[in-house]
């Protein structure tokens, strides 16, 4: 990816947390924020090799990784406190960590439902609860949640994932109301079909059918999502809150 050359996005010098930043969309978000001059601390659940690769691939950038399970509220609180003790502020939280366990409803087992809701929904609650008090105190901050086109237009075999992303949309809007009096914006980016490891099965199963439903006739790239996150994190989006920004090449419109 070419390094963005945009000047004064208001991001330089800021502190960002990105959950699930070692691969796919999360990694692209980490990289664009760091390229904009932010110090980015990203979390990963268990793939330390992938996390180290992100750091190694971005020499000279302020990127660090920490193993935090977003499902563990105490771990999220301790993680946020540790950052605050060192930096005294958190300017941006990107709740990106998510998992997918697609299957027809009748075929889902308990764990398929629990795993998706725990990481995608409870994980977002946990990290946001850990970080929001610091933003409230500073009376500034931005929160960007990664939702999905499924949150509004779930496909077959996606009841658990769609429900989790619908919850993220609702959370985003309600939290925007709650935090607006303190100058904190809360928005979401809803990706369509993106070329990542996580969506590989979906893409393989659906084949050309998916592409035919995307107005722009191509699968999205992680960078397409990262660009939208960058925008919502930047000073250019200071007057935007409670929005779900669809970045899907026109997928939801068909």
């Amino acid at each position: 990816m070419n390094e963005p050359k945009i000047i004064d996005s208001g991001l330089s010098g800021g502190i960002a947390i990105v959950t699930g930043g070692s691969r796919g969309i999360g990694r692209a978000i980490v990289e664009i924020l760091a390229a904009s001059g932010m110090e980015v601390i990203f979390t990963f659940r268990d793939n330390s090799a992938a996390a180290n690769e992100v750091i190694a691939a971005n020499p000279g950038k302020k990127i660090s990784a920490e193993q935090v399970d977003a499902r563990d509220s105490a771990a999220c609180a301790a993680f946020a406190e540790k950052i605050i003790d060192r930096t005294e502020k958190i300017d941006l939280l990107v709740n990106n960590a998510g998992v997918i366990r697609d299957n027809l409803l009748a075929m889902l087992d308990d764990d398929d439902i629990k795993a998706v809701l725990d990481t995608n929904v409870t994980g977002t609650f946990n990290m946001t609860r850990a970080v929001a008090p610091y933003m409230i105190s500073k009376r500034r901050g931005k929160i960007v949640n990664i939702s999905s086109v499924s949150g509004e237009k779930g496909g077959r075999g996606q009841t658990n994932y769609a429900a989790s992303k619908g919850a993220i949309n609702a959370l985003t809007k309600a939290l925007a109301v709650e935090l607006a009096p303190r100058g904190i914006t809360v928005n979401a980016v809803a990706p369509g079909v993106i070329e990542t490891e996580m969506s590989r099965t979906v893409r393989e199963l659906a084949g050309d059918q998916i592409q035919s439903r995307i107005l722009l006739k191509r699968i999205g790239k992680p960078e397409d999502i990262a660009n939208a996150v960058w925008f919502l994190s930047s000073k250019f989006a200071d007057y935007i809150t409670g929005e779900i920004l669809h970045v899907d090449g026109g997928f939801k419109m068909e």
Binding site: P133, Y134, I136, S137, E178, P181, R182
Partner: protein, 147 residues
């Protein structure tokens, strides 16, 4: 957990720091933060300010104040149904509150008292006491740990 054991001297010791912390959170002059000032009525605090104040007190005094547990703590030994019915605090509940919030002048307790209005009773001293209780709890926890 009894309020009576919290002395005026203990409160006076931490009051300046509590007042400063509250003034920072509410964006008002420190002088305005009197010990008996009602946070909502006198200082214009909103519900989100309580979170901010608690958060700042935690950091200022290095204690952990359980979030959302203030009213629960005020309830004491009373069960939820003994404490309130249909959103209104029972007579037993009011008696318990008057004891727990002994710093609040009796005339501020409205009748009937809605549970949602309990935070309106909180004064600066309420938060001083909250910090002292947590300091004691922290000290007790520390003492209980094996060497």
């Amino acid at each position: 957990m009894s309020n009576e054991n919290i002395t005026k001297e203990e409160i006076a010791t931490i009051f300046p720091k509590v007042a400063e912390t509250m003034a920072d959170a509410l964006g008002c002059d420190k002088e305005k933060v009197k010990l008996d000032a009602s946070l909502i009525g006198d200082l214009g605090a909103e519900s989100i300010d309580f979170l901010d104040i608690i958060f700042r007190l935690e950091r200022a005094f290095k204690v952990k104040i359980p979030r959302g547990k203030i009213v629960e703590e005020a309830r004491g030994q009373l069960s939820e149904s003994e404490f309130e019915k249909g959103g209104v605090v029972t007579d037993a509940g009011v008696a318990r509150l008057k004891s727990f919030l002994s710093e609040v002048p009796p005339e501020r307790f409205k009748t009937p008292l809605k549970s949602a209005e309990i935070p309106k009773l909180f004064t600066t001293e309420t938060f001083c006491k909250m910090v002292i209780r947590q300091q004691r709890a922290t000290a007790a926890d520390g003492g209980a740990k094996p060497a």
